[in-house]
């Protein structure tokens, strides 16, 4: 196993994991931004008469976009850290449990790692936010639970496949060098 260990530093893997996690946070933020802008704009459109509508639509839309942008920048810092740790964990899992770079095994390991990460995050959030984090309402359930979980698992799977590909390429390169 040690012989096949590729020449990629943990730092590089962590950086890639952090970048992927930040990108995932931005994807989530853009989804939230679009949803909130569309839904509030629909309400404004229904209430305000034509002459008074455009100004408040612009003000409302930009205020939502700005606050979501600020919030997601703050969240990006936290998710970069989680992404970096997650990537290192996944990298080592693939190294030790999938030495033959089997794709199915990669998907399974990545899914398990992402699911564990989501569970840990939920437990921590639940402990910190208590009643604030509720599944009582439709939107709360979708935005606090479903979408983040889907994004986290998708990032885990894609990240795992990319890491596995990198491992397999490096392994082949190592074999060629050795021969």
């Amino acid at each position: 196993m040690k012989k096949n260990k590729p020449n990629i530093s943990n730092k590089s893997v962590a950086c890639k994991g952090a970048t992927a996690a930040v990108a995932a946070t931005f994807v989530y933020a853009v989804i939230v931004m679009i949803y909130v802008i569309i839904r509030t704009s629909a309400t404004i459109y229904r209430i305000m008469p034509a002459g008074e509508r455009s100004e408040i639509l612009w003000l409302n839309g930009f205020s939502i976009a700005y606050s979501v942008a600020v919030f997601s920048m703050l969240m990006a810092m936290v998710s970069a850290l989680i992404g970096a740790i997650g990537a290192i964990v996944l990298w080592n899992l693939l190294l030790y449990f999938n030495p033959k770079f089997n794709l199915q095994k990669t998907v399974l390991l990545s899914f398990a790692a992402a699911l564990s990460l989501v569970t840990v995050i939920y437990i921590l959030l639940r402990a910190m936010l208590k009643d604030w984090m509720t599944v009582q309402y439709h939107e709360t359930f979708i935005f606090w639970f479903i979408i983040p979980a889907v994004i986290c698992i998708a990032v885990g799977l894609i990240g795992g496949i990319i890491l596995n590909k990198a491992l397999s390429i490096l392994h082949t390169a190592n074999c060629i060098t050795e021969t």
């Binding site: 970048t19 931005f26 003000l59 409302n60 606050s67 942008a69 009643d131 604030w132 509720t134």
Partner: protein, 200 residues
């Protein structure tokens, strides 16, 4: 990986553009949305409750209804009463457990100074500082003022004092970065919601 890095970079640029547009064009307008300069400078009942360290916004909307028809919706403001008439689903995303009343509830029609008004379930609250039926209502300086334009038209003016942002850098960052735009979204939503219900 290249695409992911590119996406992150472009989103960052997009955010920077939004922030710039917000600060240059949006914030100066939303701070006093709908209010005339006379209304902005007008002395209002809750003004004595506002300290100098606060940033004050004044917003106004015209409602095609007599002020006696607007007042009942203001009187029952609060999470523990008839809601805030704003985007309840947005408030509930943060666990406020808000329900906006569809009707006027007689049991909430006599707000009295000292009564507690909750912003969300088990969240922050404020005591009613001033309340004069059909005239004004104030929650610690956040004042709702009704001005009669004619028998069927009312000017609904809302003055909001920020938290004491000038005292602390962190408080300022939180206020300008998140609280102020979010408060505008919810407050304007509330004003439009009250307008819609009063005009029914």
């Amino acid at each position: 990986m290249k695409r992911i890095t590119q996406f992150t970079k472009y989103t960052f640029i997009f955010y920077a553009c939004i922030a710039l547009l917000y600060w240059v064009f949006i914030r100066p307008i939303h701070k006093n949305w709908g209010a005339t300069s006379e209304e902005i400078n007008k002395k209002m009942p809750g003004d004595d409750l506002i300290s100098r360290d606060r940033i004050v916004s004044t917003r106004a909307i015209t409602i095609r209804a007599a002020k006696e028809k607007v007042w009942p919706w203001i009187a029952q403001t609060g999470q523990n009463r008839g809601g805030f008439n704003s985007y309840y689903w947005l408030e509930n995303l943060f666990g406020a457990k808000m329900v906006n009343a569809k009707y006027i509830h007689p049991e909430w029609q006599n707000p009295t100074p000292g009564d507690i008004v909750y912003y969300g379930k088990n969240q922050g609250y404020e005591r009613i500082a001033l309340a004069k039926p059909n005239e004004y209502y104030s929650l610690g300086g956040w004042t709702f003022y009704l001005q009669e334009m004619d028998t069927a038209k009312t000017r609904f003016i809302v003055r909001y004092p920020s938290m004491e942002v000038r005292q602390s850098k962190w408080m300022g960052m939180y206020y300008y970065g998140l609280f102020e735009p979010l408060h505008f979204i919810m407050e304007s939503g509330m004003m439009m919601g009250i307008r819609q219900k009063s005009e029914r």
